[in-house]
């Protein structure tokens, strides 16, 4: 089985990011997973056991004093070094901002083709085939790369983990990058996480609010239903532009694409750009005052009504069921 490199993302406090399980599971589908982790010297060994539990057969700890100060350059260098020693069949990164940057630069550096935003991977003999969901799920596309290895960015949460646990073989390498061609990280301003709600990417349930909520204060209704359902909070671009909620919540063409089991759209008209970010949800529920809102064309259950009367009644019904 060929080696499949998986670039593991580490948060600024040194923890494995949530994407790790899914990425190693993706690697396990097409070969033997090799986790490549870039950390400051000494900080990586604490991660080895958990990487093994998530399916890594090998772990490459790339230690660099520049980790956290040079923007993605140490990660590119670590993968380029691992490519030359391990001759992998494929290199996987998360389809995040950072993962795409690394994949892009690595692709040019080693002359490998790039496959972006895969939602599934499989081997057909020596060929690795990636599946994509294009134009907001309107098309399913299969692609591959002429020549090997190929580099794939994998959509966060698209492939369910974990893979079978392993006791990994660990290699430690130390790394010094050329700082001249790299942007510099001056400061990390971490997101202040104020709730225990699930993150939007990869969430199994999402409750989103639109312009129909009317104000930032009234947008709290979306939070309340999300908490009653254990769901992540999303929003339409109109709600984001109106300042009801931050841009990181935006679902749609230029925001996050979600494919949850349940998507609840509150006061969202359903412009084509919004639908592109959520129409692959398994079940769609919509509540809107406007009976002609296009969101109803794709909703499995649509209610023409006022979100401020329907949603509190729904929350009460969910809570009373919980008490039984």
């Amino acid at each position: 089985m060929s080696n499949i490199l998986a670039l593991i993302e580490v948060s600024s406090n040194g923890d494995l990011r949530d994407s790790t399980s899914s990425l190693l599971a993706a690697a396990a589908r097409i070969g033997s997973p090799v986790a490549v982790v870039v950390t400051r010297p000494g900080a990586g060994s604490a991660l080895v056991e958990r990487l093994g539990n998530l399916g890594a057969a090998q772990v490459v700890l790339a230690e660099s004093d520049q980790a956290g100060t040079l923007l993605v350059t140490p990660q590119v260098d670590a993968l380029a070094a691992a490519v030359s020693t391990l001759a992998p069949g494929a290199i996987l990164t998360v389809n995040s901002v950072e993962g795409r940057d690394v994949a892009a630069r690595l692709g040019v550096r080693i002359g490998a083709g790039l496959v972006i935003d895969a939602v599934n991977l499989r081997s057909e003999g020596l060929t690795i085939v990636a599946t994509h969901s294009v134009f907001g799920g309107a098309y399913t596309v299969e692609s591959t790369v002429q020549g090997r290895p190929l580099i794939v960015t994998v959509r966060e949460g698209a492939i369910e983990g974990p893979a079978d646990a392993a006791v990994p073989v660990v290699t430690t390498v130390s790394l010094t990058s050329d700082a001249r061609n790299s942007a510099v990280i001056d400061e990390v301003i971490d997101l202040v996480v104020t709730s225990t709600r699930p993150g939007l990417r990869g969430a199994t349930r999402v409750v989103s609010g639109g312009r129909g909520l009317g104000s930032p204060e009234k947008f709290a209704l979306v939070d309340q239903l999300a908490d009653a359902l254990g769901a992540a909070v999303g929003a339409s671009r109109a709600a984001v532009d109106a300042g009801f909620v931050g841009q990181t919540c935006q679902v749609g063409q230029t925001g996050v694409t979600v494919s949850p089991q349940l998507y609840v759209a509150l006061g969202i008209s359903g412009a084509i750009q919004h639908r592109a970010g959520m129409q692959t949800a398994k079940t769609i529920v919509a509540i809107n005052k406007d009976a002609d809102a296009p969101i109803f064309d794709i909703a499995d259950f649509g209610i023409v009504g006022d979100v401020f009367t329907v949603v509190p009644q729904l929350i009460a019904a969910i809570e009373s069921r919980g008490k039984k």
């Binding site: 993302e9 990011r17 923007l71 995040s96 901002v97 795409r100 940057d101 994949a103 892009a104 630069r105 692709g107 040019v108 083709g113 790039l114 496959v115 972006i116 935003d117 085939v129 134009f135 799920g137 309107a138 098309y139 399913t140 692609s143 591959t144 002429q146 020549g147 061609n181 790299s182 942007a183 001056d186 400061e187 990390v188 301003i189 971490d190 993150g199 990417r201 990181t248 063409q253 230029t254 349940l262 750009q273 129409q279 079940t283 509540i287 109803f296 064309d297 794709i298 909703a299 499995d300 259950f301 649509g302 209610i303 023409v304 009504g305 509190p312 009644q313 929350i315 019904a317 069921r321």
Partner: protein
């Protein structure tokens, strides 16, 4: 300061967008073509710097079919000083790697201090070409910037990833991409539209850029589409008008679907 803005023509997201089932490529004839909105914002970043810094030169650069001319003319009408169109039949069906190679060669021929692109297009949505161009040119890149601060010898800004916000900077020359957090673009005015017709507009083939596709693209992995299938459209399910008990009915629907 010479700023080159990369623009891409995409199918209008307000209409239906289709793929050619035979090639898996975007059916560009099947929908209205526009400059991607995010690239107009990238141009706005350059133009607003030019507004406050006399002597700044702004170039709009695109790779694509003949139809791209319209978008580049709009960029000139908005205030760019010149346009470069990389046009070559050999680039039909180019993947991100080929695209980046062609754009990097074009940038070498124009010269630049700063390259600004949109973070990701609304059609392919890959978001990788700017970083690939930077690697080809041996320069620093900063993608997905939510704020941009250009000075004489460096560019700085903030970018948010899923886990946090970073404050970053790079020395010029550099390649950056911006998000829709940056301001909307200005509209071309009448004077701009009239003067656009007189501005330099260069069309360059791969040969003009010194690229022999047989050599430059040999041995470079290229992504290819094997198959494209249209998903059946979603259909509307139950739709009710609230008569005072819709919340309870919705709860029943969710229970029946084992969703609560």
């Amino acid at each position: 300061m010479k700023i080159v803005v990369l623009v891409k023509q995409v199918p209008d997201t307000y209409g239906e967008r289709t793929l050619d089932p035979a090639t898996g490529w975007i059916d560009r004839a099947g929908s209205d073509a526009v400059i991607d909105e995010i690239d107009e914002r990238a141009l706005e970043v350059a133009l607003s710097y030019k507004d406050s810094h006399k002597g700044t030169e702004v170039v709009v650069l695109s790779m694509g079919s003949k139809a791209v001319t319209v978008g580049l003319r709009k960029g000139l009408a908005m205030g760019a000083d010149s346009a470069v169109h990389v046009l070559d039949a050999a680039l039909e069906g180019a993947d991100v790697g080929w695209t980046a190679a062609a754009i990097a060669a074009a940038l070498t021929s124009t010269g630049f201090d700063l390259v600004i692109a949109g973070n990701e297009s609304t059609d392919g949505g890959g978001g990788v070409v700017p970083a690939m161009v930077a690697e080809r040119l041996g320069l620093a890149h900063m993608t997905f910037l939510e704020s941009v601060d250009i000075s004489a010898d460096q560019v700085a800004g903030e970018r948010t990833t899923g886990q946090g916000t970073l404050r970053v900077h790079a020395s010029l020359p550099a390649v950056i991409s911006i998000t829709e957090n940056l301001p909307e673009a200005r509209f071309p005015n009448f004077r701009g539209i009239m003067s656009a017709k007189k501005k330099p507009f260069r069309v360059a083939s791969l040969g003009d850029l010194g690229i022999d596709p047989a050599v430059a693209f040999a041995g470079v992995g290229r992504s290819v589409v094997l198959q494209a299938t249209k998903r059946p459209a979603r259909t509307a399910g139950t739709k009710i008008v609230d008569e005072g008990n819709a919340g309870v009915k919705l709860a029943d629907f969710l229970v029946a679907g084992h969703l609560i």
